[in-house]
């Protein structure tokens, strides 16, 4: 009789008891808490970060790009973020790219955005047909970041000349002899401005007194010509990549430069 009751009873995880306990007896949270607990909505975070991307700087030719580690600055649970992103990629809504300047830096673009921008750019060019074919056959089904020659020729039935056209149009970037990264056309400018801006913002934090600055202060500061993106975009980047430490204080969030 007892056994049956035991099996029907909903078993709570041991850690759940301690999580609630921690919140009750734990230290008070200073400053504003930027993210809420509970099932996080990665999609809405992505959309928020996409709004920080400056389209005017690139004359609207690039789709909105967000970096994967920027999400880590908003949500605490990195493993959960990774899992949700993989789910979105499997569903075909999100595309991930290896940006090239850092082994860990992955760029995220909504699939619809990407397709629209690429096709708009290809309008009237002779490579348009191939690119369209590539988008329909490969990008729609495959969640890979790179492709080898073998795969392109056999699985997707592209010819050599078609592959050359794809590289010319910027959809594929050479990785090494016989394999290519999936890439965003004209993203060279993005990478250049991004790295410049990141260095400039990091220097701002580093040169401050004690190597730390309040996040609210940093957002208010006048940016030099080097910083082409929105300050918040860069702040999410450096916090998520753990290049600065984010500390809760009574006057808000403090960013401290991490000497490594």
């Amino acid at each position: 009789m007892l056994q049956r009751i035991g099996m029907n009873r909903k078993r709570a995880l041991i850690l759940d008891t301690f999580n609630t306990k921690k919140r009750k007896n734990g230290t008070e949270k200073f400053g504003t808490v930027s993210e809420g607990d509970g099932p996080a909505d990665i999609r809405s975070t992505l959309e928020y970060l996409m709004t920080l991307f400056p389209r005017k700087v690139f004359n609207d030719a690039l789709p909105q790009i967000v970096l994967k580690h920027q999400l880590y600055s908003i949500h605490n649970d990195k493993t959960m973020v990774d899992r949700e992103l993989n789910k979105l990629r499997e569903q075909g809504e999100l595309l991930m790219f290896q940006l090239g300047f850092d082994a860990d830096a992955f760029g995220l673009v909504f699939a619809s955005d990407y397709k629209a921008k690429v096709l708009a750019e290809q309008e009237g060019r002779d490579t348009q047909g191939t690119v369209q074919k590539f988008l329909d056959k490969v990008v729609a089904f495959c969640t890979e970041l790179s492709f080898s020659k073998d795969k392109m020729l056999r699985e997707f039935l592209f010819t050599d000349s078609e592959i050359t056209q794809l590289v010319k149009s910027g959809v594929l970037t050479v990785r090494d002899a016989g394999s290519w990264w999936l890439s965003i056309p004209n993203s060279g400018k993005f990478t250049k401005y991004f790295i410049q801006g990141r260095k400039a913002v990091l220097n701002m934090v580093k040169k401050s007194k004690y190597g730390e600055v309040l996040k609210a202060d940093l957002e208010e500061r006048r940016t030099t010509a080097h910083v082409k993106f929105h300050m918040k975009y860069h702040i999410h980047d450096i916090v998520g990549a753990e290049l600065v430490e984010s500390i809760q204080t009574t006057s808000g969030i403090l960013l401290r430069f991490v000497d490594s």
Binding site: L13, L15, T79, A103
Partner: protein, 401 residues
């Protein structure tokens, strides 16, 4: 917690569940305790500590000056303030002391009559604890970074040794010589660990960014190499074939049940692997600062649910949830880099040693006594200054005897 106690009383829950819940609660409340201290003997940094498996009473520590100290961790004084005394030392005056820094020490897994230490003076010594003289000395060609005896071995008595040489040596204590060599790494082997689940499985980490798993009964090479991308060729740069980390791999630790393996590397990452298949579980711990050029000794809790990983990060120890990857807390207390840490499973205590020559004991915070008991204590304890937990008070012996 009361819910767990009632369920245990009524028989609705397995007794193990209450034990795990209490262990987890204790680990979550680890703090530096002003009452608990460890004798300060080392004059230089402490590189390694080990607590014996059988009783959990004696702790070995090896220092950068070649000194080895044995401490008694048990508190029989009846008072809450306690200093773990050093029972004996292999000091600089001992004829057989290591010439350079001791990198790894380990108790013999079956009793505390013997322990093994290895050092940068290219030797590994098997010591007799009573006489503090080495019963056996193994010599190698390069600095010895790490050695390990299997905690569960019944059929063999091999010590796996990782040195500057890319070959892993297996030394047999029964015969007193190196009987086997495992080839496969291309650079120095920084850490070796036996699996706590299968006595013939060995994991090794090397400066060539690879982690290999071996079955020592097999004549041909390793079983497999751990691949951080899980065979997903798209994520890797094409030259980096099958690496566990993007830098030197300097820390290895199996979980208590041997099902998972944790590795840390100088690319500031820590990864959790399924030890049977070699698959990267892709748990993201974030940036785990790691600048160590030698082995990093980190440890996993045992008997809690969920398990926690304690990793030395600079001058503090980071505590992560094993499967979630979230940073639970940072234990700050050392004045300089922390080199090693060891978890005491019976008392859920953490001992950490570092370059500041201190071994700190992190003890779970006791529950504060109730208001009622405190006022009673004030009335009774006119003579006694320290407030002893009523459970330890002697309530039955009479004054006449």
């Amino acid at each position: 917690m009361l819910g767990f106690l009632t369920a245990r009383q009524a028989g609705l829950d397995d007794p193990l569940r209450l034990r795990r819940a209490e262990s987890t609660r204790r680990v979550l409340s680890l703090k530096l305790n002003p009452d608990r201290d460890v004798d300060r003997i080392h004059g230089n940094g402490i590189n390694t500590i080990d607590i014996d498996v059988i009783e959990g009473r004696y702790m070995l520590s090896g220092g950068a000056d070649g000194v080895i100290v044995i401490y008694d961790l048990e508190n029989y004084s009846g008072k809450p303030e306690y200093t773990c005394k050093a029972i004996c030392t292999v000091g600089r005056s001992n004829r057989h002391v290591h010439k350079f820094s001791v990198e790894t020490v380990q108790w013999y897994p079956y009793d505390t009559g013997m322990f093994v230490s290895s050092s940068f003076d290219k030797t590994m010594k098997v010591w007799d604890t009573d006489t503090l003289k080495p019963a056996e000395v193994f010599e190698f060609e390069g600095n010895v970074y790490s050695h390990h005896l299997s905690p569960i071995a019944r059929k063999h008595s091999l010590i796996a040794v990782g040195t500057k040489n890319p070959k892993i040596q297996l030394c047999d204590m029964k015969s007193g010589s190196c009987i086997q060599v495992l080839q496969g790494h291309r650079a120095e082997v920084l850490s070796v660990r036996w699996s706590p689940r299968y006595e013939y499985i060995l994991a090794s980490a090397s400066a060539d960014s690879k982690v290999r798993l071996w079955d020592v009964r097999r004549a041909a090479g390793s079983l497999f190499t751990l691949d951080q991308h899980n065979g997903d060729k798209s994520k890797a740069s094409s030259e980096a074939v099958n690496t566990a980390h993007n830098g030197r791999v300097n820390g290895l630790c199996f979980t208590g049940d041997g099902l998972y393996l944790l590795t840390t590397g100088t690319d500031d990452r820590m990864r959790l692997w399924n030890s049977a298949t070699g698959e990267n579980t892709l748990v993201n711990y974030g940036k785990v600062c790691n600048e160590s050029r030698k082995r990093l000794q980190f440890t996993v809790s045992r008997g809690c649910s969920p398990e926690f990983v304690f990793v030395p990060c600079g001058s503090s120890v980071a505590v992560y949830g094993l499967h979630t990857g979230e940073l639970v807390t940072m234990l700050r207390g050392h004045y300089n880099n922390v080199d090693c840490c060891e978890f005491h499973p019976d008392y859920q205590e953490l001992y950490t040693g570092g370059k500041d020559c201190n071994i700190l004991a992190w003890v779970p915070v006791l529950r504060p006594s109730d208001v009622e008991e405190e006022s009673d204590g004030a009335n009774k304890g006119a003579a006694g200054q320290t407030s002893v937990n009523p459970a330890f008070q002697d309530a039955w012996s009479s004054d006449e005897d």
